[in-house]
């Protein structure tokens, strides 16, 4: 019996030693910057590069870069902010652009106002706009999800289309080309997951519109741009030239295996396109098609995220200085992350750098990143509001009825009601 109690006591002692160790680590001083981000091969690796560069300038600063899934970062951040406990918060956090306004407008005092710390004219305007709430700019713009249409030159040529046929077109024209390509070559023009409405977002953004009006109220029903976007998307899905896939893996698999001739999405897909080395030289890049509404441009965006500094940070000044020295100054850093990680930043002065000028043999010698840089500066500014994902799922839930030929206006009314219900 005594032996047993001894074991219990010993275990408890071990546990308390573990606990005590933490407190010491936490008290290590203000020169430690904790960063939360996701994606070990992208954001985390890029932050490691930034850390190494900053430590060369300021060797006393320690970093703890915590790697979590995106949903996990969001959940953790939300619980910390809503519980009012600041001990657990990091100094810098990565927030996806679509969700930025949600955090900034719900917890405005938790994030550092950086309006006077950075020269925002040096960043892509659409990125600055989405992190500006109530006249204050909070974040440091990071990667862009500038969209483009990657296409198989060889397949399109076999169907009689040239590069100029892909420039400056509408989605309606894209669908026409797709049907011709499919009829002549048997290869699908593109692949899409009918349950995923990501392309609807791309179309909306290209027309400078979003799910919400100026006051942040849902604006799905009776929104002409919204109607055009879902109707066009349904037409695309129903086109014989479109291959229907399910999930991310199958979607990327469609182009890697040569079953689909184009992929229209954010610049971050470049690595996945190039993963199939046997297709080298056969690919090219064109601007994304635009929506057939007034004011729409052949430039849009899908995804992207930015860095934010927490007001509770014990090393706030250092954290801001770190972001300034690297993300708002170091052009060479941006060349390095483009070459190593395929990351396209939104810091404009960096885009004249050598990495952006490289002619890529995979794309037949095209300087794709220079093209992306040009597209990025044309992306319209929109306010994403606080409920992009809620709106996204409301739209996704009515898409099947539109595919089946139902009324677009009625479907959007239903989506509007669902969205209002979800965010009430």
């Amino acid at each position: 019996m005594k032996k047993f109690l001894f074991v219990v006591l010993a275990l408890m002692l071990t546990l308390s030693v573990f606990a005590a160790g933490d407190k010491e680590a936490a008290a290590a001083g203000p020169q430690k910057i904790t960063i939360w981000a996701w994606d070990p091969n992208f954001n985390i690796a890029i932050m490691e590069e930034a850390k190494a560069r900053y430590q060369a300038i300021n060797p006393d600063v320690q970093f703890e870069i915590v790697d979590m899934a995106k949903a996990d970062v969001e959940q953790k951040l939300l619980i910390n902010l809503s519980s009012g406990v600041t001990d657990g918060l990091p100094d810098i956090v990565l927030i996806e652009d679509y969700n930025a306004e949600k955090y900034l407008s719900s917890y405005p005092d938790s994030f550092a106002d950086l309006s006077s710390s950075f020269d925002y004219s040096q960043f892509a305007p659409y990125k600055v706009k989405l992190m500006t709430v109530g006249g204050k700019t909070y974040g440091v713009p990071f990667d862009t999800g500038v969209a483009g249409t990657y296409y198989r030159k060889d397949i399109l040529e076999a169907a009689g289309f040239r590069a100029s046929d892909m420039e400056n077109i509408t989605w309606d024209r894209f669908i026409e080309i797709g049907e011709a390509v499919f009829a002549k070559t048997g290869v699908s023009m593109c692949a899409f997951d009918p349950t995923d409405g990501g392309l609807v977002r791309v179309m909306l953004h290209s027309a400078g519109s979003w799910y919400f009006d100026k006051n942040g109220k849902p604006f799905l029903a009776g929104n002409p741009v919204m109607e055009a976007a879902v109707a066009t998307y349904a037409k695309l899905i129903n086109s014989p030239g479109t291959m229907k896939t399910s999930g991310w893996a199958e979607w990327v698999g469609a182009i890697n295996s040569g079953k689909a001739a184009t992929i229209s999405t954010g610049v971050w897909i470049t690595g996945s396109v190039k993963a199939e080395a046997t297709q080298s030289g056969k690919w090219a890049l064109a601007p994304i098609p635009r929506l057939n509404v007034p004011g729409a441009v052949n430039a849009s965006n899908l995804g992207g995220s930015s860095w934010y500094v927490l007001n509770s940070s014990k090393a706030k000044a250092t954290a801001i200085d770190f972001l300034k020295q690297i993300y708002a100054k170091d052009n060479d850093f941006y060349q390095k992350i483009l070459v190593d990680r395929g990351a396209v930043g939104s810091f404009l002065p960096s885009q004249g750098g050598s990495a952006y000028m490289v002619a890529d043999p995979f794309f037949g010698g095209q300087k794709v990143f220079q093209n992306f840089s040009a597209y990025m500066q044309k992306i319209p500014s929109v306010e994403f509001g606080s409920y992009t994902y809620e709106a996204d799922s409301a739209i996704a839930s009515v898409l099947p009825s539109i595919y089946a030929g139902g009324s677009v206006a009625d479907a959007l009314k239903a989506a509007q009601a669902q969205l209002e219900n979800a965010i009430k």
Partner: protein, 281 residues
């Protein structure tokens, strides 16, 4: 093994249509259950691109995937952390829950059933509702980012207490009474008489509790903060959200992460079944 004898006797004659049908049915269901595991093993040996193209044969990328995984995740650390949390957590949960289940069944008290019903009622509260208060409590007592914080809230697991109380119903009270007459204290009676005779119950509970600690995700995600405290589940999750997920690496990691639970389950399968059927008989 009465089931096997029954089966053999039935197989000696011509198999009936019903038997054939049930076997076909079982095979189909088993295929559905086993395919994901097969897919996981195949995926772990292929590069990400082949996984996404639906390649169904073994590839040559197993060692590359392992090397990449090793670069992305500090494997020894996360395994050590997870093993620590799981073993210590399982030990204390079994100790506390079995004592509670034993106590609820063996000691009579006027408020016993009311207290027990109240305890069961707490099972109805979803974890999401207590998460933030719990987080605040642990922040107050300065236990954030410690393994104590991960283990403590689930040590008094109501479902395990319930399971031990149900199993204790078949434990004969006379054994403990005899022990008391022989001069054993209450604690001694518990440890020398009850614990050894409930081995299969402990084994079954151990498997369940082991798995729940090994797979715990949400609460550790919230209370653990630094990289040196990372658990397996958190590490797997962090690989999954990226612009270009590496499916081969993820599959390999999942195999590594699930194999300890598989080993534990197969090692203790017999006790598990016996425990589920009811111990102490």
């Amino acid at each position: 093994m009465p089931h096997e004898q029954l089966l053999l006797r039935r197989l000696r004659g011509r198999p009936s249509a019903g038997l054939v049908f049930s076997y076909v049915f079982i095979i189909i269901v088993a295929a559905f259950c086993l395919f994901p595991f097969l897919w996981m093993v195949i995926g772990a040996t292929n590069v990400s691109k082949d996984v996404s193209m639906g390649k169904l044969s073994l590839g040559m990328a197993l060692f590359d995937n392992f090397a990449n995984l090793n670069k992305l995740v500090n494997l020894p650390l996360v395994f050590r952390n997870t093993a620590f949390v799981t073993l210590v957590g399982t030990f204390f949960t079994l100790l506390v829950a079995s004592m509670a289940g034993y106590g609820f069944e063996m000691y009579r008290n006027r408020h016993r059933e009311r207290l027990y019903a109240f305890l069961l009622l707490t099972m109805m509260i979803p974890f999401a509702a207590v998460m933030i208060p719990l987080f605040r409590i642990f922040a107050k007592v300065q236990l954030l980012n410690s393994f104590i914080a991960v283990i403590l809230p689930s040590v008094a697991s109501v479902i395990v207490i319930f399971y031990f109380r149900q199993s204790t119903k078949s434990f004969s009270r006379e054994l403990v009474e005899a022990a008391r007459i022989d001069g054993l204290s209450e604690l001694q009676a518990f440890f020398y008489i009850y614990v050894p005779s409930m081995k299969s119950t402990y084994a079954a509970a151990a498997i369940i509790v082991f798995m729940s600690y090994w797979n715990s995700f949400l609460w550790p995600l919230i209370v653990l903060q630094t990289n040196d405290k990372k658990l397996l589940t958190l590490a797997i999750s962090s690989l999954s959200s990226s612009y270009t997920p590496d499916f081969g690496v993820i599959m390999l990691f999942i195999i590594l992460a699930t194999s300890p639970t598989l080993v534990i389950f197969f090692a203790m399968q017999r006790q598990f079944v016996a425990g589920m059927l009811g111990a102490g008989k």
